[in-house]
Amino acid sequence: MNLCSRCGSNVYSEENATVSRILRIPDVLRARLKAWACTSYPHEACGLLIGRSVGACNAVVDVRQARNLRTERAHDRYEIDPQDFLAADRDARHRHLELVGVWHTHPDHPARPSSTDLAAAWPQWSYVILAVGQAGVSEMTSWRLADTAFEQEEIQS
């Protein structure tokens, strides 16, 4: 367990992590996320994942970058502009796809979900986190809400 030093909540669990959940994202789309992460550094970047959810697998077909409404704390907070959400959702529907997840960056921090991430998390979606620093993206992880904590999921191409 990984407990918050302030609130004592369990942010994520590695002990109980299951690899049965999978995020499938092609290399070309991973490269696009990493490029956006680097371009936005030292600010957080964020966006949405469009694809198909089949059983325990979220398969990403396209990625979107979104505007971050938290301009006053863009180095450590993000909130996706609802208009960008609506546009991505509309695009997904037209393509007979759906929104399968969210991505955001942690500038100069590990790619582990925070209690802030947990508080706003929704079930079923994959939450991709990219750790980014001056040298570029050092790590990319994906997480899903399982009851009240995040569980890490495997990333495949």
């Binding site: 993000y78 925070s114 508080a119 929704w122």
Partner: protein, 102 residues
């Protein structure tokens, strides 16, 4: 009674049998949501708080406009309007993360 469409986001489709939109009757957003809740048990509690207000991480749109910029849940509807339940997608770094990462 006014008939509208309510769009359901992916995380809430478990309450609608996987449907991404449902039809509902209501002259206001509040009435349409009440009809939605009556037809799909458990869904309304994920959208509205105990006082009947939209939950912190939920936005409600009629067309392209957030109901907070209109008349809130009292916003009046016209036939064919589309209500979108939009999850607020947010997060970021905090001190917990540094502790969690060890």
């Amino acid at each position: 009674m006014t008939m509208v469409t309510i769009r359901i986001p992916t995380p809430l489709r478990g309450y609608t049998g996987g449907r991404d939109e449902v039809e509902a009757a209501g002259d206001t957003v509040a009435e349409a949501l009440a009809a939605l809740g009556a037809a799909h048990e458990g869904l309304l509690e994920r959208v509205l708080g105990p006082e009947g207000e939209p939950r912190q991480f939920v936005n409600l749109f009629v067309g392209e406009r957030n109901v907070r910029q209109l008349d809130g849940l009292g916003t009046r509807l016209q036939t064919g309007d589309v209500i979108a339940i939009v999850p607020a997608v947010a997060g970021g770094n905090d001190e917990c993360e540094g502790k969690a990462a060890g």
